[in-house]
Symmetry: C2
Subunit: 351 residues, 2 copies
Amino acid sequence: MSTTRRAAAIAAMIGAVASKSAAAQTAPAEPKPGITLERWGSFHVGGKEVVVSGQPVREVLFTPGGVPARVDPNGTYLMAGMYAQYMVPSPQRGVAPMLMWHGGGLTGVTWETTPDGREGWQSYFLRRGWVTYVSDAVERGRAGWTMIPEQTGGTPVLLTVDNPYERFRIGDGIGSFQRGTTLPGNQFPTDRESYLNFVKQCVPRFTTTDALTQEAYAALLDRVGPSVVVAHSQAGLFGWRAAQNKPDKVRALVLVEPAAIGDPAKVAALKDVPVLMVYGDFIAQDSRWPTIRANGVRFAEAVRAAGGSVDIIDLPERGIRGNSHMMMMDKTSDTVAGVVQDWLVAKGMWR
Amino acid sequence: MSTTRRAAAIAAMIGAVASKSAAAQTAPAEPKPGITLERWGSFHVGGKEVVVSGQPVREVLFTPGGVPARVDPNGTYLMAGMYAQYMVPSPQRGVAPMLMWHGGGLTGVTWETTPDGREGWQSYFLRRGWVTYVSDAVERGRAGWTMIPEQTGGTPVLLTVDNPYERFRIGDGIGSFQRGTTLPGNQFPTDRESYLNFVKQCVPRFTTTDALTQEAYAALLDRVGPSVVVAHSQAGLFGWRAAQNKPDKVRALVLVEPAAIGDPAKVAALKDVPVLMVYGDFIAQDSRWPTIRANGVRFAEAVRAAGGSVDIIDLPERGIRGNSHMMMMDKTSDTVAGVVQDWLVAKGMWR
């Protein structure tokens, strides 16, 4: 099918969804009891200044009918900070706060309400007495972004509507979004309305800000103190290295399908940081995940050889089938969260 | 002083702040009691699809040491959606949910913890029994943004670190950030650490997405239902027009220093929507605000002439002095919130 016809077909499908009246997603299917929230709020942390010079001054009309303001683009900017939102329940049962680090091209919304309107992992763990910190990493979401190309590497990547469907082990291969076909037994909520709700939370992603992001996560750990870190996908890189750089600040490390390994030269730094790696379904038949998982397992072996402790859970081996790369959004998200919770309990992280 | 020396002076000041250990901003000065939170979560709403074609396919290495993925930039994107996060307290005392709409170059963080670590307006109203919805408008924060220039008008505006200090009626004129001098009695938390925390929440702003933003706010109102809308600055435009377009969906409209007026041709649509406009201090001596305020007052008179009800409160006339454009962050933010709350009570919006 030609690109134009394919785009038109996708547009028609999206249009059909958009014209449906939205489901009342604020009313959950099974109302759960209220919780006692002691404190809640947010802050920004980390970052650096960047100086721009030699640019012409602009007159900008910010609001039609308003008064133009003089905007001088030269000067000092702050960039590379990170946003974090915390919620403190009563009673508190986690021995340390839980930091939740989203993956690539996403934001802290990853951990919030699932695309189909169920409570997500932030709710799951908050209800069980964890202090939660949900962050937006450098140049994502509420951390803002800077359009100074020299600082962020120019053109970011933004995903087309079909890309996550086909790359995150939801659909069964190329063209599956258009066909509406999934891997057999896939648990991601793939009704069109939910799937589009998920796509809307995807954000552009600069591919050159890893070092800045690592620094910001270090600043976050400095601020919050020793924490349990739950890191998804791209954030696996940041989680491994944050724990290696500041093992005293990471009480336990939970890596949800980490997309990369840590620093092979510093595996001994992890010897007192218990690590859990969780993998979902459909890995063997994917074009990339067997390699990614194998890299992770090999790194885990090196950590163990250096005296560390790494548990690896492949959910299908436990009879938990059908999880995509976005297991915190899959229909079985509570079951998977329970696996993480049980491990944290076993490691003495929750009383 | 040359641009280079000025930039160096600013950098030195920022560096001095950055090297200070961060205050524990999650522990408020005066701990307040916990609340009962019934439900909380988030969603995306609105938006449209955009088709891109004719671009070359890219191989992108998302994570160092990972496996490159093929990213085809051609295809269908979703853009112009909006993010909203809700919190439902128990008991509920507002007769409708309170939607909180941030201003230009900012995000929903506007309403959250103040830059100096105090509870912000979202907390103030949640504690008093309001269901709160804090949103990130189109191409801001967790609403994501699209870097397709044809859709968003090309280069956005990002503020240098001194710009809000001098434009939001905090500092006493050009160069005041560098001098560290404020308007007399100014209430914004201008210690360097707090001020920089505020700057970090500023995000780039496309100046051509107003129509898209208006549509997304309409979709939000359709989803949530009749609401009290609290809109700041640039969002004053959206608030006026949302109420004019869907008066049945706006129970009351609170405009916090609105930067623009509504549609003069549709003032009669507001006859059943009570409106409050709140202005802070230092307006008379500002280069732009006397005009902006006068425009607002004139529009309010037109609304009244058409049968509507608009109350205008100038805080200094009530003995509440020193408020900047960011009155929800000023040290007297609770006092100002109390003015809004009292008005809502008087209008029968809270029981």
